[in-house]
Amino acid sequence: MSRLVQAGIEAARRLPWLRERAGRAVDAVVRASSVPPPALRPGAWSLGLGAAADDLPVVVVDVTGLATEPVQALVDRLPEVGAGVRFVLVVDGPQLAVGRRAGVVVEHLIDQGAWAHRHDPAGWPAYRTERFDQMRSTYRPHRVLALPSGDPDELGRALVRAPAPTAWRRAWSRAERLLDPPPRGRAGPHARR
């Protein structure tokens, strides 16, 4: 299937009219997708897996309410307790960079205090529900876990083994990755020359 898709991409690159139609078709494929986004960051410890990381289940972990230190401690132990999982950490504080350094996706939720600056406090539960619905739709997670303790061992115990993806889902992920490739790495210029 991958070779077929690759051949289609090459043909579309050569012909503008085909490129435009192919673009629309690819959009339709991506919109219809029910698999987690291919190439979603799997954590720095899983980078060596390449496209095989697309087969790892996605788990959304809600650590809202935690300070930066426990979030950092949790992230530090993710390679150990969460090998074989792609995480989306949900925070409500300034911990966006913590997850990024470990190659983990981070989502941010407005906390109740900040919400009340601009909205009726009674509307916050509905906002929270909407945001988690969006995350379910975006990441197609295997599970959504609340981890108010931030305890890595508790997370490890809660990670029930996900069923292996079907051959069809694997093929879809590979095809989508080819049609809609991930960004190429952007290294900083001052690291090494």
């Binding site: 960079a97 049609l179 809609d180 900083g188 001052h190 020359r193």
Partner: protein, 361 residues
Amino acid sequence: MSTGDVMYVSSNGFGMGHLTRLMAMAGRRSDGVRPYVVSMSRAVPLVADQGLDYEYIPSRDDLGIGARRWRFVFAERFASVLLRERPDVVVFDGVHPYEGVLASRTVLPGVRLVWSRRAMWRPGLVAQQLASSSVFDVVVEPGELAAELDAGATVGRTDAVRVGPVTLLDHADLLPREQAAAALGVDPDRPTALVTLGVGSIKDVESDVGRVVNGLLGVPGLQVVVTRPTIASAQSDLPPGVRGVWLYPISRYLAAVDLAVAAAGYNSFHELAGFGVPTAFVANTTTGVDDQPARARWAQRAGVGLDVPVLDASGVRRVVDELGDPGRRAVLRAALEQVRRPNGAAAAQAQVEGLLPRRAR
């Protein structure tokens, strides 16, 4: 006086230029204006320190996913933010307005759109996104000191309102030297070098940061301050004489800085040049659109700074020889004084507020 809700939207990009320009504008808002920041920058929590409410949307780079999938994700998420916050004006700062932003009026009819569109695009880029300029009610172009070397796609366009260079702080906001030195942890009576290059470890002597810090440590009496994102180690791991700091905005402390080695991004360039710090500019050549090499060349040509394209042994020697010399620094400072221009942030914000629907008499 203007009143209304303004949503400031920044893309990700290298560094914090997009977010900082928006903060500069929001910081100069009228009393009746309610700002809200939506950003793809992981540094966005910093805006809370300026009293601004914010929301983070992961960039494509943060998620690592394909452009098409991300476009849908962003559009859906941005639409829900628009419907919830219902701003009167959306101000976008970035070089590529996303479809989700361009579709704002479909989601929220009547909303007005402003594009804060930095100039100095790398020459030769296909700039299809400029066609979307007409979707915006106003395009504001933050000023460029190096404009005469701008050969990018925005040159010659007449669709933008040009303002002065936009910086977060004005001269009056800088701390006096003694206070600034105390915050940086240095002696105000000795010269101080600031190294702010971005990626790279100070312990890696093969990195640009490691090489230039080692070079600067050889200048008698010189204290070296390195911004923390450039270092991977704790203060206790740093060589004697080197301070690691993470202060935002670093420009508030520039009165205690006598020389700098910095990338030539819009922000650092205009802050360092605008606040009179003799600087060696090491252009980042990997940015997608920003023509940093041209900015650094201009600094050299105008005699207000050094253009050091590569921080190899000879580049470091130039930095040390020229900026380590107090006489040369005095010449550069005097030249910087001649090119200084007023902050354009208030003028940019005035353009935004001109679109607000309700104005008190």
